[in-house]
């Protein structure tokens, strides 16, 4: 072997670079740069704001003030309320979700099929619309309380959803699906022969539940509990709707709008710590253990509901469930046709019009927020795709030091409440920095897409890595073996094979961006007002009709996306 032979083989500088074992670090450094700039740096700036006083001295004064119950109890009360609401929400969601999953998976009764579709309706409701529909239906001046007041001729409404109780009801309605989905998956994976085996060994019903079924459901339940707790802690719209000021998110919002920036930063930091702690606990728990069923090809066996009484009872509850699940959407549709400002003390609106829908697309002032949201969400999603695909590819296919760190960094925005994300971005980008290319971003168009980008990042990343993981390594190797460069095989093989998964995640991110409210409300300005903030303002201005027309548009978009991504996922499931 002589040296000339080696040299005669053409090695371009580029391929030399791509073969280097340090090349992977060149690829992942932009990922770290982005996470550092738009997640960690804003988090850090908020922290700094909370511990540095106006003279630039380091101080814990804000934290002492937070926990000092002598001057004001608002903060401690808010923390306590947030935790209290979250714990109760976990319990109620677990009861509703698991019960639904068992009924729908294990029993056959009239109306089961339709109910098992409708049970997922809450997922199609944007948070703001969900909370809104509940106040329309069950609030102080809602349809049902008014109806019963009229019916019995009372001077006051007999009941009304309000305060913390209202928040918990809305949480239960919108979040039980997390329990439902994981319990459903766990029950589907529960091999009926396990129960049969236990029965044959002489175990009774109760013992089977205690010793077989519950232990196998535990991991799914704990994971869902942590998730619902986190989402409840971050919840902002429900407390806002029901006027519960004493929650962490509301306190941050109030401190912010009152100009008490140090306190907002302190509250944000404390909420961040709680959220990130939960994220870490969740990750730890997921890695710890997982009951995997040994058996394959499980035959579902449903117990049929027998006897006329049980049949009628179950039919009654099916219908009731269907109504409860559909009412929120129906009420939004109904009110979207009502004339603004005319629905006051009547049970339901009395005057109807199509004008709101016509206005949506013809009146430039009504159209503006929709167009704003479409633009900003598109920009954010383009960023999400580029970053999400690169990060997912790096995580799934490459080996490098700092992989675990990257994983956690990407998931942090998912754990952070939207309110906190907004406060962090304000802290970081109200002055020029490297990450904003020396611009002040607050008050410009770009801050909202940036917030959406950060909030949606984990979603796109997760969907993309899931579809990458499904793909067999050897397919990429086959392409390389046939002479394709890395880029060619990425373009011709990896992207087409994972496109449907990426698209599904992206569409989801896009509609979430369209409906984003929690962070938007803190950072929008008049010219960039997004759809959800417009809904809020219309409500404030007593223009229910217009607000609900916006809401119907959002629900429609979400439904379309859910159906399309379901189709896409089914399509990609058929790989080999």
């Amino acid at each position: 072997m002589n040296a000339n032979e080696t040299n005669s083989y053409r090695v371009s500088p580029w391929s030399k670079l791509t073969q280097s074992k340090y090349f992977v670090y060149i690829l992942i450094s932009p990922l770290f740069f982005i996470l550092l700039g738009y997640v960690i740096y804003p988090l850090y700036k908020t922290f700094v704001q909370s511990v540095v006083d106006k003279e630039g001295n380091f101080t814990f004064a804000n934290y002492l003030k937070f926990f000092d119950t002598m001057t004001t109890t608002a903060n401690i009360e808010a923390l306590w309320n947030s935790v209290y609401i979250s714990v109760i929400s976990v319990i109620t969601c677990a009861i509703v979700g698991v019960t639904m999953a068992f009924l729908l998976e294990r029993y056959d009764f009239p109306g089961r099929k339709i109910l098992s579709v409708l049970v997922l309706v809450p997922m199609a409701l944007p948070p703001l619309i969900g909370a809104l529909s509940f106040t329309f239906l069950y609030g102080e001046s809602g349809i049902f309380p008014r109806f019963f007041q009229k019916l019995f001729g009372l001077s006051e409404v007999p009941f009304a959803l309000e305060g913390i109780f209202g928040v918990i009801v809305v949480h239960t309605f919108t979040m039980y699906t997390y329990f439902y989905l994981s319990a459903q998956a766990a029950i589907k994976g529960l091999d009926p022969s396990l129960e049969e085996a236990a029965t044959s060994l002489g175990a009774g019903r109760i013992r089977i539940w205690r010793k077989v079924i519950l232990p196998m459901l535990t991991p799914a339940m704990i994971a869902s509990s942590l998730l619902v707790f986190m989402i409840s802690m971050a919840s902002y719209t429900a407390p806002l709707m029901f006027g519960v000021d004493r929650t962490m998110t509301m306190q941050i919002y109030l401190s912010r709008t009152n100009g008490n920036l140090d306190m907002a930063a302190t509250q944000s930091t404390i909420l961040s710590i709680v959220s990130i702690a939960f994220l870490i606990i969740m990750k730890w728990y997921q890695n710890r253990r997982n009951y995997q069923n040994q058996s394959k090809g499980i035959g579902v066996h449903r117990t049929e509901v027998r006897g006329p009484l049980m049949k009628y009872l179950s039919m009654f509850f099916s219908i009731l469930g269907t109504i409860i699940l559909l009412l929120p959407i129906l009420v939004i549709i109904l009110i979207s046709f009502s004339v603004d400002g005319r629905w006051t003390v009547q049970i339901i609106p009395t005057e109807y019009t199509l004008q709101h829908y016509i206005d949506l697309f013809t009146d430039s002032r009504t159209w503006k927020p929709i167009w704003n949201s479409i633009q900003m969400s598109t920009v954010a999603v383009i960023g999400n795709i580029i970053f999400g695909v690169a990060a997912a590819y790096a995580m799934v296919r490459m080996n490098f030091k700092g992989k675990n760190l990257l994983d956690i960094l990407i998931m942090i925005p998912w754990a952070l409440p939207g309110t906190v994300v907004a406060v962090n971005l304000i802290a970081a980008f109200s002055e020029p920095s490297v990450f904003s290319f020396n611009q002040v971003l607050i008050g410009t168009f770009w801050i909202l897409p940036l917030a959406y980008f950060v909030r949606q990042l984990p979603l796109v990343f997760r969907n993309t890595s899931a579809s990458l993981m499904q793909m067999d390594h050897s397919v990429e190797e086959a392409a390389r073996g046939l002479g394709a460069t890395w880029w060619y095989s990425f373009r011709r093989v990896i992207l087409p094979m994972t496109a449907s998964g990426i698209l599904a995640g992206t569409l989801l991110a896009f509609v979430q961006g369209l409906g984003e409210f929690v962070a938007s409300i803190l950072i929008y300005n008049v010219s960039t007002m997004p759809l959800s903030v417009a809904i809020w303002q219309k409500l404030y201005a007593f223009q229910f009709g217009t607000a609900c027309a916006y809401g119907v548009l959002q629900i429609l978009l979400i439904l379309i996306v859910l159906i399309v991504s379901e189709k896409l996922n089914n399509g990609s499931g058929a790989t080999m």
Partner: protein
Amino acid sequence: MKSVKLQNVSKTFGKARGVENVDIDIRSGEFFTFLGPSGCGKTTTLRMIAGFYYPTKGKIYFDDRDMTTVPPNKRNIGMVFQNYALFPHMTVFENIAFGLEVRKLPKSVIKEKVERAQKLVHLDGYGNRKITELSGGQQQRVALARALVIEPDILLLDEPLSNLDAKLREETRVEIKRLQVELGITTIYVTHDQHEAMAMSDRIMVMNQGQIQQIGTPQEIYNRPVNHFVASFIGESNIIDASIKAIEGEHVIIDAGNGIVLKGLTSNSSPKLQIQPEKNVKLSIRPEIIKLGEGPNSLIGEVQFTEFSGVSINYIVKVGSIEISVMVINTGTNILNRGDQITLHIPEAGIYLMDGEG
């Protein structure tokens, strides 16, 4: 066609050892098989030749060119994967054409070559089919066509038959061998199936625990295994601990314990063994070599177990404390039962001596 040379190649994964000091010279046009149990390092070695791994130590040459760290897409290899690794979003035609498109051939040439490749693997007319519409055997042939159409210097096959059912496996085996002979392409084949290896290969490399055990033609590997592992991995064999008693010209007298004394040939022994008195050895005696009745190296034993398979009768015979497996071709004679006395003899050339340690 290119020759392949591995010079002292080792690959470690972190602390785990992959393969150690692999030295092979694969001739141009040769059908060369890596054979061994799973985890023996055969696939790791193949992947280094393909370029998916780079060796930790050592060099890889195609002809005289150093390919050690050349990326896989610059090696001009054709590889067939265990699970075929077909592109599920492309048709049969597009799959086969992929490598040609990478090489930027004109459309008309691609079409012609792909159609010829389809014919070669009997898939003409299947061009527009989706991969998911094909049976396992057809998918296998698409993978083969895709690898061959680029006219690779070397064809690499990683357990290509393991996902097929028994009958298809037989058919495809013959087909692959036919293509290889017709095209005269240097082929490296990885398998854990000794029958496949014996039937197809010009030469076989037996591997175990990351190390080469033996390289040789199928006959050499079967008839003259170098150690216990090779003898028992390839075919069935009675492995008996023994010691050399004396050497008498071209004969060697062996003490196999239990008062059994056998006479073998000094020439019929592993090249690694030094024949000298008192030396501990292992004997390898194939069941089909042992004959019924009186003859050289006669033994009398008791039948422990009888198994009738149609073509043959397999006995397990206890001689002293040694159990010997014997295979007799069925000629319609009486079958002995458990407890019957049986007389056997072993032709001198049927006793193969190996080192006692290996």
